[in-house]
């Protein structure tokens, strides 16, 4: 939320044309619910020079590439090779009337994203348009004005528009990923933008720091740290130096996770002699105990409506995933395959739960329907794969993997396709958590 505000302050946005000729729901170019996603092929030519000095002309290519990289991250697109383009972008017109759609159609493009750029007196102006080549139609047109340092935000902003218009769901280009890294020698929490850029260290506890969790407004992160030689929960503001909260009951204080509707906190405490899940106010006062069992109950994750939560319990002898329905006060077991299923995360769309389970002595990422459908195995033969976390639109899953030796963060489409490394940082990275939008 906060970065959105900053964006509005620093970037003035002008709607070029009333472009929503086709409301998002009218035509869905990309069905993000489809397990067999056909990738759309967009053409993204170099931006046109609309008045930019020699020294800054590199931006024309850089920003076209950034557009392509940002869109590719979603897994929805397969970019066309600019070498195949028949049109010189510096000579071509940018508007519908001037575009020769046949030239784009003949090379297999279904979408065209073109744009122009000017840079005068420290003011950057970028206009960007998205065309449906078959329909010969403008889908979105925007002009952005800002400083040169805003260009990554501008491109992300436009990409969010593209995703919204093509899928009907908001994009994730303003989101962040929190994770644990051993870069300093201690485990500390770090933050990165959704695409792995802009990495910064968030905690400096100089001790063991674990399990980051975002508040529903993405303003606070709760985590577990051993500041006082035992695992307690700390809550820290993402950007401001505000006084945080500490939750330090006797024994274990772990796996903080926010409940999405009332912004309540849930966590595991062993204060009553056994790891159990509790519900608390955001200031750390216990509202009620949520689980009752002699075994381990830990790692809660909430359904988007806040009426149910899934968690890990070893009440049957091995760690398995269970769902508790709070209205009915019923617990049912969800996973039956495998003898070690942990780290569940409920999908933002509510239908699936991602988790890591052991197959052939290795951890792999699975998703299972809340009704028990599946489970579907998304990783295989690639070391240990743990801690899945959904992008807030439910289309991507980030996770940690040892596929290249050290544990690092990877991302894949929610159907398991396009597994790629998310970020480059020294040390080992674990426990990614994707922020809400």
């Amino acid at each position: 939320m906060w970065n959105k505000k900053r964006l509005i302050l620093s970037v003035t946005l002008t709607l070029l044309i009333s472009i929503v000729a086709f409301p998002a729901a009218a035509r869905v170019y990309i069905d993000i619910n489809s397990p067999y996603l056909k990738k759309l092929p967009p053409a993204i030519p170099t931006l046109k020079n609309l008045g930019i000095d020699n020294r800054h002309q590199y931006l024309m290519k850089e920003l076209a590439e950034l557009l392509g990289d940002t869109l590719s991250f979603t897994g929805f697109f397969k970019l066309l090779d600019p070498d195949s383009f028949l049109v010189d972008p510096q000579k071509a017109g940018l508007t519908r009337d001037l575009i020769q759609f046949e030239n784009w159609r003949s090379i297999g493009a279904e979408l065209l994203i073109n744009g122009g750029i000017s840079y005068k007196n420290g003011i950057l102006k970028i206009e960007l348009r998205l065309f449906d080549i078959f329909g010969r139609r403008l889908i979105i047109g925007k002009r952005y004005t800002g400083h040169i340092g805003d260009r990554r935000k501008i491109i992300r902003r436009f990409c969010n528009e593209i995703i919204y218009h093509l899928t009907g769901a908001k994009g994730v280009f303003n989101t962040q990923i929190a994770f644990v890294s051993t870069t300093t020698g201690n485990k500390e929490i770090y933050l990165a933008d959704f695409d792995g850029y802009n990495i910064r260290q968030f905690t400096t506890t100089k001790n063991i720091t674990l399990s980051p969790a975002w508040s529903p407004d993405a303003q606070w992160i709760a985590y577990t740290a051993y500041r006082k030689k035992k695992p307690d929960i700390y809550i820290k503001h993402v950007s401001k130096n505000l006084p945080g909260k500490v939750i330090a009951f006797k024994g274990l204080n772990t796996t903080p996770v926010w409940e999405p509707i009332q912004s309540l906190l849930s966590a595991t405490f062993s204060k009553d002699g056994n790891p159990e899940i509790y519900l608390l106010t955001s200031s750390g006062k216990i509202i009620k105990r949520l689980t009752y069992n002699w075994g381990i109950d830990t790692s809660p994750t909430w359904s988007p409506d806040g009426k149910k939560f899934a968690f890990v319990s070893n009440r049957s002898g091995t760690p398995q995933i269970y769902i508790k329905d709070l209205d009915k006060n019923q617990v049912r077991r969800l996973t039956y395959e495998g003898s070690y299923n942990t780290t569940p995360e409920w999908s933002p769309r509510g239908d699936f739960i991602a988790y890591s389970g052991v197959t052939n002595s290795h951890f792999n990422i699975f998703i299972i329907g809340v009704d028990g459908e599946g489970p579907y195995q998304l990783t295989r033969d690639t070391g240990d794969n743990e801690s899945p976390t959904w992008s807030p639109d439910g289309t991507l899953i980030a996770f940690s993997s040892t596929r290249e030796g050290a544990e690092r963060i990877y991302v894949m489409n929610a159907n398991g396709a396009d597994q790629r490394r998310l970020l480059i940082l020294s040390g080992e990275q674990t426990s990614p958590r994707w922020s809400p939008r």
Binding site: I208, G251, L252, N274, T298, T342, E386
Partner: protein, 190 residues
């Protein structure tokens, strides 16, 4: 101790008076050389006996001193054992193995001997499994050990538990040998 010193003092007194007697006797002997041998022999005998007794007494003292030292050493050994001897667990289990129970009985003995000591029991796991679950499992392991000690009469107030999950392995290896060492409860005297 005071009593022993007293005995010792009397003993010394007895020895010195005897020695005095011997030296007196020697003076006498000089005056009557012909009978000297017999007299000396007769008079030295008890003195020698006394000395033997004295040596025995000294040896006795030494033995007692030694055993006190040994006791301290043994206490040190027991303390070291208490600190260094971890109890181990099966994979994904927090129940106590028979060997762990024996070790805990020894620890309970030491704890009842060493009344002031407060102890932190650390629960640890091997690297397999996920961090969050292992934190809970480590907690259960430490609690299992604590409960057993409390059942043996150790006050719960002296025992604190803390779980480190898989965060502090004893052996950094990535094999069963290392994992077996890492699935442990470790005892720290505060």
């Amino acid at each position: 101790m005071a009593k022993r010193l007293g005995t010792y003092f009397i003993l010394l007194l007895a020895i010195s008076s005897l020695l005095f007697a011997v030296s007196c006797a020697k003076t006498k002997v000089k005056s009557e050389p012909s009978e000297m041998q017999e007299v000396v022999t007769e008079e030295e005998m008890p003195a020698a006996d006394m000395q033997i007794e004295e040596i025995e007494e000294e040896e006795g003292l030494t033995e007692e001193q030694l055993s006190a030292q040994e006791l301290a050493e043994r206490e040190g050994v027991l303390r070291d054992r208490f600190v260094n001897q971890d109890i181990h667990f099966e994979f994904d289990k927090s129940s106590l193995l028979p060997e762990a129970r024996e070790i805990l009985k020894e620890k309970a003995e030491w704890l009842s001997m060493t009344r002031g000591a407060a102890v932190t029991i650390e629960g640890h796991c091997d690297e397999r499994g996920t961090n969050d679950y292992n934190l809970a499992l480590g907690d259960r392991r430490a609690e299992s050990a604590k409960r057993f000690l409390v059942d043996l009469g150790i006050s719960a107030g002296r025992l604190t538990t803390v779980s480190y999950g898989e965060e502090r392995p004893f052996d950094p290896g990535h094999n069963e040998e290392a994992w077996a060492k890492n699935r442990r409860a470790h005892f720290v005297i505060e």
